[in-house]
C-alpha cells in the first residue's frame, strides 16, 4: 500500500547542507507493523514526517495506494490526512480547551461529518477510556491522554497510522499498555509505522528498520529474519 523510493531530505544549503535522509527505500503492506529505530538525529522523525506529508522530501517518491503523494499540494494532502493517514505523537498533541470526546471528534468536525458523538464514544470505549470522556487533557494522565490521541487517530478509519515515539513520555508500565493497544489495533487490520527508541517495543513489530545518519543500516523481519531495505 505504501512505497518509499530513494527518498532523501536535506536541510540548509551549500557547505551548511545537512542530509537528514539519504536514499531511503522500503515498502509497507496492508496490515504491516513496522518499527523505525535508530539513535537521536538519525532521521526517524523526518522519515515519518515525509511519509505523512508533514514535510516534503528533497528527492525521491512516496507512493500511497499507487499514487505519488510526495508532490501533492497542501489542499490535496488534506484529503489524505482526513481519510488515509493518521498520526499519534509523543507529546499527544491534544487541544487543551476541548474534552477527551471533543478531541476525538475533532477530525470529523474538519471533515464536516455531522456530530460524530456516538462514534467518538464508541472508540473511546475501545481504547479503554469509556468513563473519562468529559475530562480535559489537563485532568488526564499521560497514558490516558495518549489513548485519547489514539482514539482521535482511529475515528477517521485510516488505513495507515503513523506513531512518533508514542510511549516516549511514559513509564514502562503505562508504555506497555499503549503498546498493547497498538498491537491489538494491528491485529484488527490497521497498518502501523512506529518510531521508537525501545528495542522491547520493536520486538512486537513485524519488521524493524534501523536508521543511522539518514540511511537504513539494518532491516529485521521478525517473521523471516533479516532483509535488506528494498
Amino acid at each position: 500500500m505504501l512505497e518509499i523510493k530513494n527518498v532523501s531530505k536535506t536541510y540548509g544549503q551549500g557547505t551548511a547542507e545537512v542530509a537528514a535522509l539519504s536514499n531511503v527505500s522500503f515498502r509497507v503492506d496492508e496490515g504491516d507493523f513496522i518499527a523505525i529505530m535508530g539513535p537521536s538525529g538519525s532521521g526517524k522523525s523526518t522519515l515519518l514526517n515525509v511519509i505523512g506529508g508533514l514535510d516534503y522530501p528533497s528527492s525521491g517518491e512516496v507512493i500511497l495506494d499507487g499514487k505519488r503523494i510526495d508532490n501533492l499540494d497542501e489542499n490535496d494532502f488534506v484529503d489524505i490526512r482526513r481519510n488515509k493517514i493518521a498520526y499519534v505523537f509523543q507529546q499527544y498533541h491534544l487541544l487543551q480547551s476541548l474534552t477527551a470526546l471533543e478531541n476525538v471528534m475533532l477530525p470529523l468536525t474538519f471533515c464536516g461529518l455531522g456530530e460524530g458523538e456516538e462514534k467518538g464514544l464508541e472508540i473511546l470505549k475501545e481504547v479503554g477510556l469509556g468513563r473519562r470522556t468529559e475530562h480535559k487533557p489537563g485532568q488526564l494522565s499521560g497514558g490516558e491522554q495518549q489513548r485519547v490521541a489514539i482514539a482521535r487517530a482511529l475515528v477517521s478509519s485510516p488505513s495507515l497510522i503513523l506513531a512518533d515515539e508514542p510511549t516516549g513520555n511514559m513509564d514502562r508500565k503505562t508504555g506497555k499498555g499503549i503498546l498493547d493497544l497498538f498491537v491489538q489495533l494491528n491485529r484488527e487490520g490497521h497498518s502501523i509505522i512506529m518510531v521508537t527508541h525501545d528495542p522491547e517495543i520493536a520486538k512486537h513489530a513485524g519488521q524493524t528498520i534501523v536508521l543511522q545518519d539518514g540511511q537504513i543500516v539494518n532491516s529485521i523481519d521478525q517473521n523471516g529474519g533479516k532483509r535488506n531495505g528494498d
Binding site: N49, L54, R81, Q91, H93, L98, E102, L106, P107
Partner: protein, 396 residues
C-alpha cells in the same frame, strides 16, 4: 461538533487574551460613540432652543453697543449710553411682520398675526439691592413666555402691579400683596413666578406703562421681541425687511443665531470624528498585533488541527470566527465606555447640554467593531494558515 464551537470553547478558555485583543476596538469604537453621542446631544439642545425660540426675532436699538475690535480680533462689546426704540415704531414692525407672514403662508385674514412684545429694561434698587425691572405688555409677553408658570398669586394684568421672578422674590423676601416703591412709584406684587433656570428668575416684571412712568421713559422701549406664527415663517426675511425699512433699529432672527451655532458644532464634531477615526485605525493595528501574538501562541494548536485534517481555509475561518467574537465583545464594551465618556465629557464641550445614551448606536457599534476586528485579522489568519505542520511542532 461544529467549527465555531471549537472557537467558542477556546475563546472562553483564554478570556483575558480575548479582552486584551478587543481593547484596540473598544478604544476606537468608544471614541466614535462618545463623539456622536455628544454631537447628537448638542444638536438636540439647539433644536430644542429652536423649537422654543425658533419663530422669534429680536429688535434692538441699532447702536445699543459697539463692537470693539483690533483688526479681525473681537474684543467684546461696549454699551454706549442709554439707547431706546420709540414706541411709534411698533405698528410699522407689526405691518412688516404680518405682511411677510401673510405672503409666505397665503393668509387673507386681516387681523394681527405675530406676537409683538416690547420691553423696557431699567436697573434700579429695591430694599438696597440692585434689580433689573422689565416693563412688559402683559398679554403679548404671556404669549411669548409659554414656559412661565405662576408659583403664587396671579399673573400681571394692569398698571401698578408687579410679577416677581422666583430668585428675586427669595432674595428680596417679597411676598404676594407686598407693596414696593420703585423710583417713588408704588406697585403691588400680584404674583411670583416658578423658577425657569434663566435670568428671568432675578427680574421684576411690571406693566410697560408703569415702568415708563416711574422711570421717565415715556414712549420708549429697550427691545422688541417678535414671535412669528410658526417655526417655518420667514423670520430672516422679516428681520431683513425691518433692518432695511426702519432706521435706528437692528433685527436679528433667532434662527440665524441657531444656524451659526449649529455650523460651529458641526465643525467641532467633524474634527472630533476625524480624531476618533485615527484612534480606530490605531486600534486596528493593535488588533493585528494581538492577533499575530495569538497566532504565535497557538502555533502548536494550529499544527494539531492541520495534522488531524483541518484545511488552510478552516484555519482562516477559525481565526475569523475569533475576530467576530472579539468584535462583538469590543463593540459592546466600546458602546458602553463611549456612552459613559459622553456623559462625563459632553457637558465640558457643550455647556449645559444634557447627554442621553443613544440606543440606535448600539448595533452599528457592534457592526463597526466586528468589521474592524475581521479586517485586522485577515493578515494574521492568513499567516496562521501558512504555518507548516512539522515546523509548528518543532518550534516547541
Amino acid at each position: 461538533m461544529k467549527l465555531y464551537q471549537i472557537v467558542v470553547k477556546d475563546v472562553t478558555r483564554r478570556k483575558k487574551r480575548m479582552l486584551y485583543a478587543s481593547l484596540g476596538v473598544v478604544i476606537g469604537v468608544a471614541t466614535i460613540v462618545a463623539v456622536l453621542t455628544i454631537a447628537l446631544a448638542g444638536e438636540t439642545n439647539i433644536y430644542g432652543q429652536l423649537e422654543k425660540y425658533g419663530a422669534n426675532l429680536v429688535v434692538m436699538p441699532a447702536i445699543s453697543d459697539i463692537d470693539v475690535g483690533l483688526g479681525g480680533l473681537s474684543l467684546g462689546t461696549l454699551a454706549v449710553g442709554e439707547n431706546y426704540i420709540s414706541e411709534n415704531e411698533l405698528p410699522r414692525i407689526r405691518q412688516i411682520a404680518d405682511g411677510k407672514i401673510r405672503t409666505a403662508l397665503n393668509i387673507e385674514d386681516e387681523g394681527d398675526i405675530a406676537t409683538i412684545a416690547p420691553r423696557l429694561y431699567v436697573n434700579t434698587e429695591i430694599r438696597g439691592t440692585s434689580v433689573i425691572i422689565v416693563g412688559v405688555e402683559p398679554q403679548q409677553e404671556r404669549q411669548l413666555k409659554t414656559w412661565w408658570r405662576i408659583q403664587e398669586g396671579e399673573y400681571l394684568e394692569r398698571a401698578g402691579q408687579a410679577l416677581v421672578g422666583a430668585m428675586a422674590a427669595e432674595l428680596l423676601e417679597l411676598n404676594v400683596g407686598d407693596k414696593i416703591a420703585l423710583n417713588g412709584r408704588e406697585v403691588t406684587i400680584t404674583g411670583i413666578l416658578e423658577e425657569t433656570g434663566s435670568n428671568e428668575d432675578y427680574q421684576v416684571f411690571l406693566h410697560i406703562k408703569t415702568a415708563q412712568e416711574a422711570f421717565d421713559k415715556e414712549g420708549l422701549v429697550s427691545s422688541i421681541d417678535v414671535r412669528a406664527l410658526c417655526s417655518a415663517c420667514p423670520t430672516s426675511d422679516i428681520a431683513g425687511s425691518i433692518n432695511g425699512n426702519i432706521p435706528g433699529v437692528r433685527a436679528v432672527a433667532v434662527k440665524q443665531i441657531a444656524e451659526t451655532e449649529m455650523g460651529m458644532m458641526e465643525k467641532v464634531s467633524k474634527f472630533l470624528l476625524a480624531l476618533a477615526g485615527i484612534t480606530l485605525a490605531v486600534g486596528c493595528f493593535g488588533v493585528v498585533n494581538t492577533m499575530l501574538t495569538s497566532v504565535h501562541e497557538r502555533i502548536r494548536d494550529i499544527g494539531i488541527m492541520r495534522a488531524v485534517g483541518a484545511s488552510r481555509n478552516q484555519i482562516i475561518k477559525i481565526f475569523l470566527y475569533e475576530a467576530i467574537i472579539v468584535g462583538i465583545v469590543g463593540g459592546f464594551l466600546g458602546y458602553v465606555v463611549g456612552t459613559l465618556l459622553a456623559y462625563v465629557v459632553g457637558p465640558l464641550i457643550f455647556e449645559g447640554v444634557a447627554v442621553t445614551y443613544v440606543p440606535q448606536y448600539f448595533l452599528p457599534s457592534l457592526a463597526l467593531a466586528t468589521f474592524i476586528a475581521v479586517v485586522a485579522t485577515v493578515y494574521p489568519a492568513f499567516h496562521a494558515s501558512k504555518i507548516k505542520i512539522a515546523d509548528s511542532f518543532r518550534s516547541l
